[in-house]
């Protein structure tokens, strides 16, 4: 088995592997650590470079050493061989030719099977043992062997010449450097010189050289005619056959040791007849190289450790300023402008940190200045904002900016919130805000108007007078009046926004309306005065009394009373119309209208109706006072108070002559809160007398009464109460009539006997009347309403009636603190 020791030589793949590995590994690790600290990367780079340089130089040195050792050894073996060639004289050379010829003649068959069985470095015999033994005893052959042994043993330390040199070592402690020496020739079966044939060898016999009792592998013989597979050195052998002295390009290691072989041509008559070969024992050289190899690796390892150490130190030294600068820069970034990098060096890093510190100072000053100016500017802006806010808070108009999309900007005056109270304003669409407050047609017009305002091709002039919000009532009532104006704010050719001004003009609008109302009212009053003057006094006061009498009923509107009220209103309206009392006719008509429109009663309807009735009452009160004024103006001032006059009015209207005895009645004695009640009651009692108590004069005479009806009214003031009495000597109560009416109304049974007391009760009942409907009586409201008013005032009203006499008595409580 042969192997070359190339790894120690010029084709040193291990070296290249380490060299490339260091560079590649260094580069890969540096790349992998790209995000680690700069110092680590720098250290790694240093290590890689220094390791690469060290390994390169170590291996270069090793290669040079190897090359020179190889060159020296090769030269030595070549010199030995060349000298040895002179020991082969012509006789010896002829012997070579002869032995070659004889071995060829006696050779066993050397076919391809035979040759292929021989591996490189191995051999096969080509002679039969008998032939071999005969030929090896040939004196020419032995002479050749002796020559080879001489050459070999001449390479010992101490050379002693002997005539016959044995195969065994002459001195085991002084072995020759040339271990093997032999002669071989090419064979015709192997033109490529893979196989050669042994002619002679210094060790042609088997010999137990180390005396261990057996033939070791390195003690085997190389007999004559041996076919040896020399494929590993066939090129060198070819060179020798061409006449050159050659040596193997590498040390060859096999089971016998480590060798350097050389090949020498043996000439005879100008032609190479055989090759003389020598194997030099290169163990010492190889051991030297091997030692050197391991030393190189050791040096490399040491270099690695040292370079790591140095590069760490160096990188630390180099990165420290960078670290310091980085820390300071980060502090500055965090707005700590007092940060400085403290590095006392006189080198470029020192300059850099100094420059950095100066820059930090400058930046700090700059930032301070900037901050101050920003602060000042902010303050200015804040002041300006506050001023704007103050203006917006105080201005009484609703000011705002309107975006082209119709939304209101965030900055607007507080007054706008009073116009749109309950809703959030910023970002709201103006049309949205208006939608619930103005009629749809106005809203649509507003939308169009705003659209036209945002259209820059419409000059202001063409839009003049088209503002639909010039004056408008909000929420469909007259409570809030708004006047809105819009002004364009232009940005270049475009209308970027509108300045909206919403003013609350409620006061002026209401004033305007009030003035209008007053004007209308005075017109109405003028008409009224004219109407009243024109109307006969009696008819007029009848109408007014009528109206007053029913006004309580008129106010009580519900689903049950509606038909009755409608009839009442209609009658009153007819009366007003026939009297040409225009104002009343209209007011009554209005009241009638409000409750006729829909079959069901709504709250709104009730409210409007109530208002209409109130108007009617006001009108009536006004008319009464006007009538009084007219009377005062046209008649001598009366000494009688109004109550007495009203009572007289009732009788005079019906043309009933009465004697009124009021000497015990003074209406100014009546507490003011009862005056109206008492007057209304007395007027009602008077109506009662004039209708129910009236008798023709003849009838009165036959009953023994005076011609005129005697009426007496008294008023007494007691400590706890006042008592007012009213009595007439009229017809009295008609029990029969009362009974039949009561039965008709279902108030009593037919069998029930009618007495005075029951009759007195009945006449106060609601809806009770024995008369046909007329202006003064017949609806059964009058006495009932009197009783109701007296009861409401915690008083008592009673009636005593006999044939020919009726007396009403009202008692009203007077609170103690009075008087």
């Amino acid at each position: 088995m042969i192997e070359t020791l190339a790894f120690l030589g010029p084709e040193n793949h291990v070296f290249w592997g380490i060299f490339l590995g260091v560079i590649l590994g260094g580069w890969l690790i540096t790349a992998y650590l790209a995000r680690r600290s700069f110092g680590l990367k720098l250290g790694l780079a240093f290590t890689t470079v220094s390791l690469a340089l060290t390994s390169f130089s170590v291996f270069f040195y090793q290669k040079v050493t190897y090359d020179s050792l190889y060159a020296a050894t090769t030269a030595r073996i070549k010199d030995i061989g060349r000298t040895g060639l002179f020991l082969f004289d012509d006789e010896a050379r002829r012997t070579i030719l002869r032995i070659d010829r004889e071995t060829e003649e006696r050779s066993l068959k050397r076919d391809s099977t035979f040759l292929q069985a021989i591996a490189p470095g191995n051999s096969g015999d080509s002679l039969k043992p008998a032939d071999l033994s005969e030929l090896q005893n040939d004196p020419g052959f032995l002479h050749l062997v002796q020559t080879l042994r001489k050459i070999k043993n001449a390479t010992r330390e101490h050379v002693v010449l002997e005539e016959n040199i044995p195969q065994a070592p002459l001195d085991p402690d002084d072995v020759p450097v040339i271990r093997y020496a032999n002669i071989f020739v090419p064979i015709s079966e192997s033109p490529d010189i893979r196989y050669v044939k042994w002619i002679a060898d210094s060790d042609f016999e088997e010999l137990d050289g180390n005396k261990n009792g057996k033939i070791d592998e390195d003690e085997q013989s190389s007999p004559l005619g041996m076919i040896y597979n020399y494929a590993d050195a066939s090129e060198e052998i070819k060179g020798a056959l061409r006449g050159e002295v050659t040596a193997t390009r590498n040390y060859i290691s096999d089971t016998y040791g480590v060798w350097l072989s050389a090949f020498f041509p043996i000439y005879y008559q100008g032609r190479v007849i055989a090759v003389h070969s020598m194997d030099l024992d290169a163990r010492k050289d190889v051991n030297l190289m091997r030692k050197l190899w391991f030393e190189s690796l050791g040096i490399l390892g040491l270099a690695f450790l040292i370079s790591v150490f140095i590069s760490l130190l160096l990188s630390k030294y180099l990165t420290r300023p960078i670290k310091l600068l980085s820390i300071a820069a980060n502090q500055i970034r965090a707005r700590d402008f007092s940060a400085r990098a403290n590095l006392n060096r006189k080198d470029e890093f020192g300059n850099l940190t100094a420059a950095f510190n100066e820059m930090a100072m400058a930046v700090g000053q700059y930032a301070q200045t900037l901050e101050r100016s920003v602060e000042e500017r902010t303050l200015e802006l804040r002041q300006a904002k506050q001023e704007t806010d103050r203006i917006l808070a105080t201005v009484s108009d609703g000011l705002f900016l309107l975006n082209p999309d119709g939304t209101i900007r965030g900055n607007y005056s507080r007054a706008l919130e009073t116009i749109f109270p309950t809703e959030p304003i910023p970002g709201r669409n103006l049309l949205n805000l208006l939608a619930s407050r103005i009629p749809d047609d106005r809203l649509k017009s507003t939308e169009t108007y705003l659209k036209l305002l945002f259209d820059p091709s419409r000059p202001d002039i063409v839009l003049k007078g088209l503002n639909p919000l010039q004056k408008i009532a909000f929420n469909g009532s007259d409570e809030i009046w708004i006047s809105a104006a819009f002004h364009r704010i232009k940005n270049g050719d475009q209308v970027s926004e509108l300045l909206g001004v919403f003013s609350n003009i409620t006061e002026s609008a209401q004033l305007e309306q009030k003035l209008g109302n007053e004007r209308r009212k005075s017109e109405v009053q003028t008409t009224l005065v004219l109407d009243l003057l024109r109307t006969p006094r009696l008819l007029l006061s009848t109408f007014l009394d009528d109206l007053n009498e029913y006004s309580d009923a008129l106010e009580r509107l519900n689903s049950d009373t509606r038909p009755g009220l409608l009839r009442l209103l209609h009658t009153l309206k007819g009366n007003a119309a026939s009297l040409k009392l225009e104002a009343f006719a209209q007011a009554l008509h209005h009241a009638e209208e409000t409750i006729t429109v829909k079959p069901e009663l709504t709250d709104v309807m009730r409210q409007e109706y109530a208002q209409a009735i109130m108007l009617l009452r006001e009108l009536s009160a006004e008319s009464l006072s006007l009538v009084e004024h007219i009377r005062e103006a046209s008649a001598p001032a009366s000494t009688e108070d109004f109550t007495v006059q009203a009572i007289r009015g009732v009788f005079s209207r019906r043309g009933v002559a009465v004697d009124l005895d009021v000497k015990d009645f003074h209406s100014n004695q009546i507490p003011s809160e009862y005056q109206r009640l008492v007057r209304d009651a007395l007027v009602q009692f008077a109506r009662n007398s004039s209708v129910h108590g009236f008798e023709e004069v003849s009838q009165r005479r036959s009953n023994g009464k005076k011609d005129t009806m005697q009426i007496r009214i008294t008023g007494e003031l007691h400590p706890q109460k006042i008592v007012v009495t009213y009595s007439d000597d009229g017809r009295g109560l008609d029990l029969k009539k009362i009974q039949s009416q009561a039965i008709k109304l279902g108030l009593m049974d037919t069998e029930q006997a009618m007495d005075q007391k029951t009759a007195c009760e009945l006449i106060f009942s609601a809806g009770f009347s024995t008369m046909e409907l007329s202006i003064d009586a017949g609806r059964g409201i009058g006495l009932n309403s009197v009783r109701q008013s007296v009861l409401d005032a915690n008083g008592i009203v009673t009636v005593e009636a006999t044939q020919g006499h009726t007396a009403f008595k009202i008692e009203l409580p007077v609170t103690s603190d009075r008087n």
Binding site: D441, S445, P459, I461, L466, N467, P468
Partner: protein
């Protein structure tokens, strides 16, 4: 010089307008008594400005305006109407009228509107 067409069924109104426009140095190139006539004349003369009444026989002013604008959208149409309602004016402007002048108009109003067109 801008060329104007007058459209009004009242001869008097047209005469009044013509008198006013002459003082404004505007050239009246055509007059029509109703919308149908206005469309015919518009096709022939292609005026820059048209003054138009709303209530006219055969074809009302707003319909006529729409048709004119369909032919030539750059035409400036000034509605002159007796309908005294800003809502109507806004609607007319919304559908393309340049301006609306309400009768009876003053020469000052006519002048300020036309000045924006010169």
């Amino acid at each position: 010089m801008k060329r104007v067409m007058l459209v009004d069924d009242s001869d008097l109104m047209r005469t009044i307008q013509q008198t006013h426009l002459r003082t404004l140095k505007l050239e009246v190139i055509a007059e029509a008594r109703n919308g149908v006539e206005a469309l015919d004349l518009f096709g022939i003369h292609r005026p820059d400005i048209v003054t138009m009444d709303i209530t006219m026989p055969h074809m009302d002013g707003l319909t006529c305006m729409k048709q004119i604008l369909a032919i030539q959208p750059t035409t400036r149409i000034i509605i002159i109407t007796a309908i005294n309602d800003p809502a109507v004016a806004l609607e007319a402007m919304d559908i393309g009228a340049y301006a609306v002048i309400q009768k009876p108009f003053s020469i000052a109003r006519l002048q300020e509107i036309f000045e924006t067109l010169v």
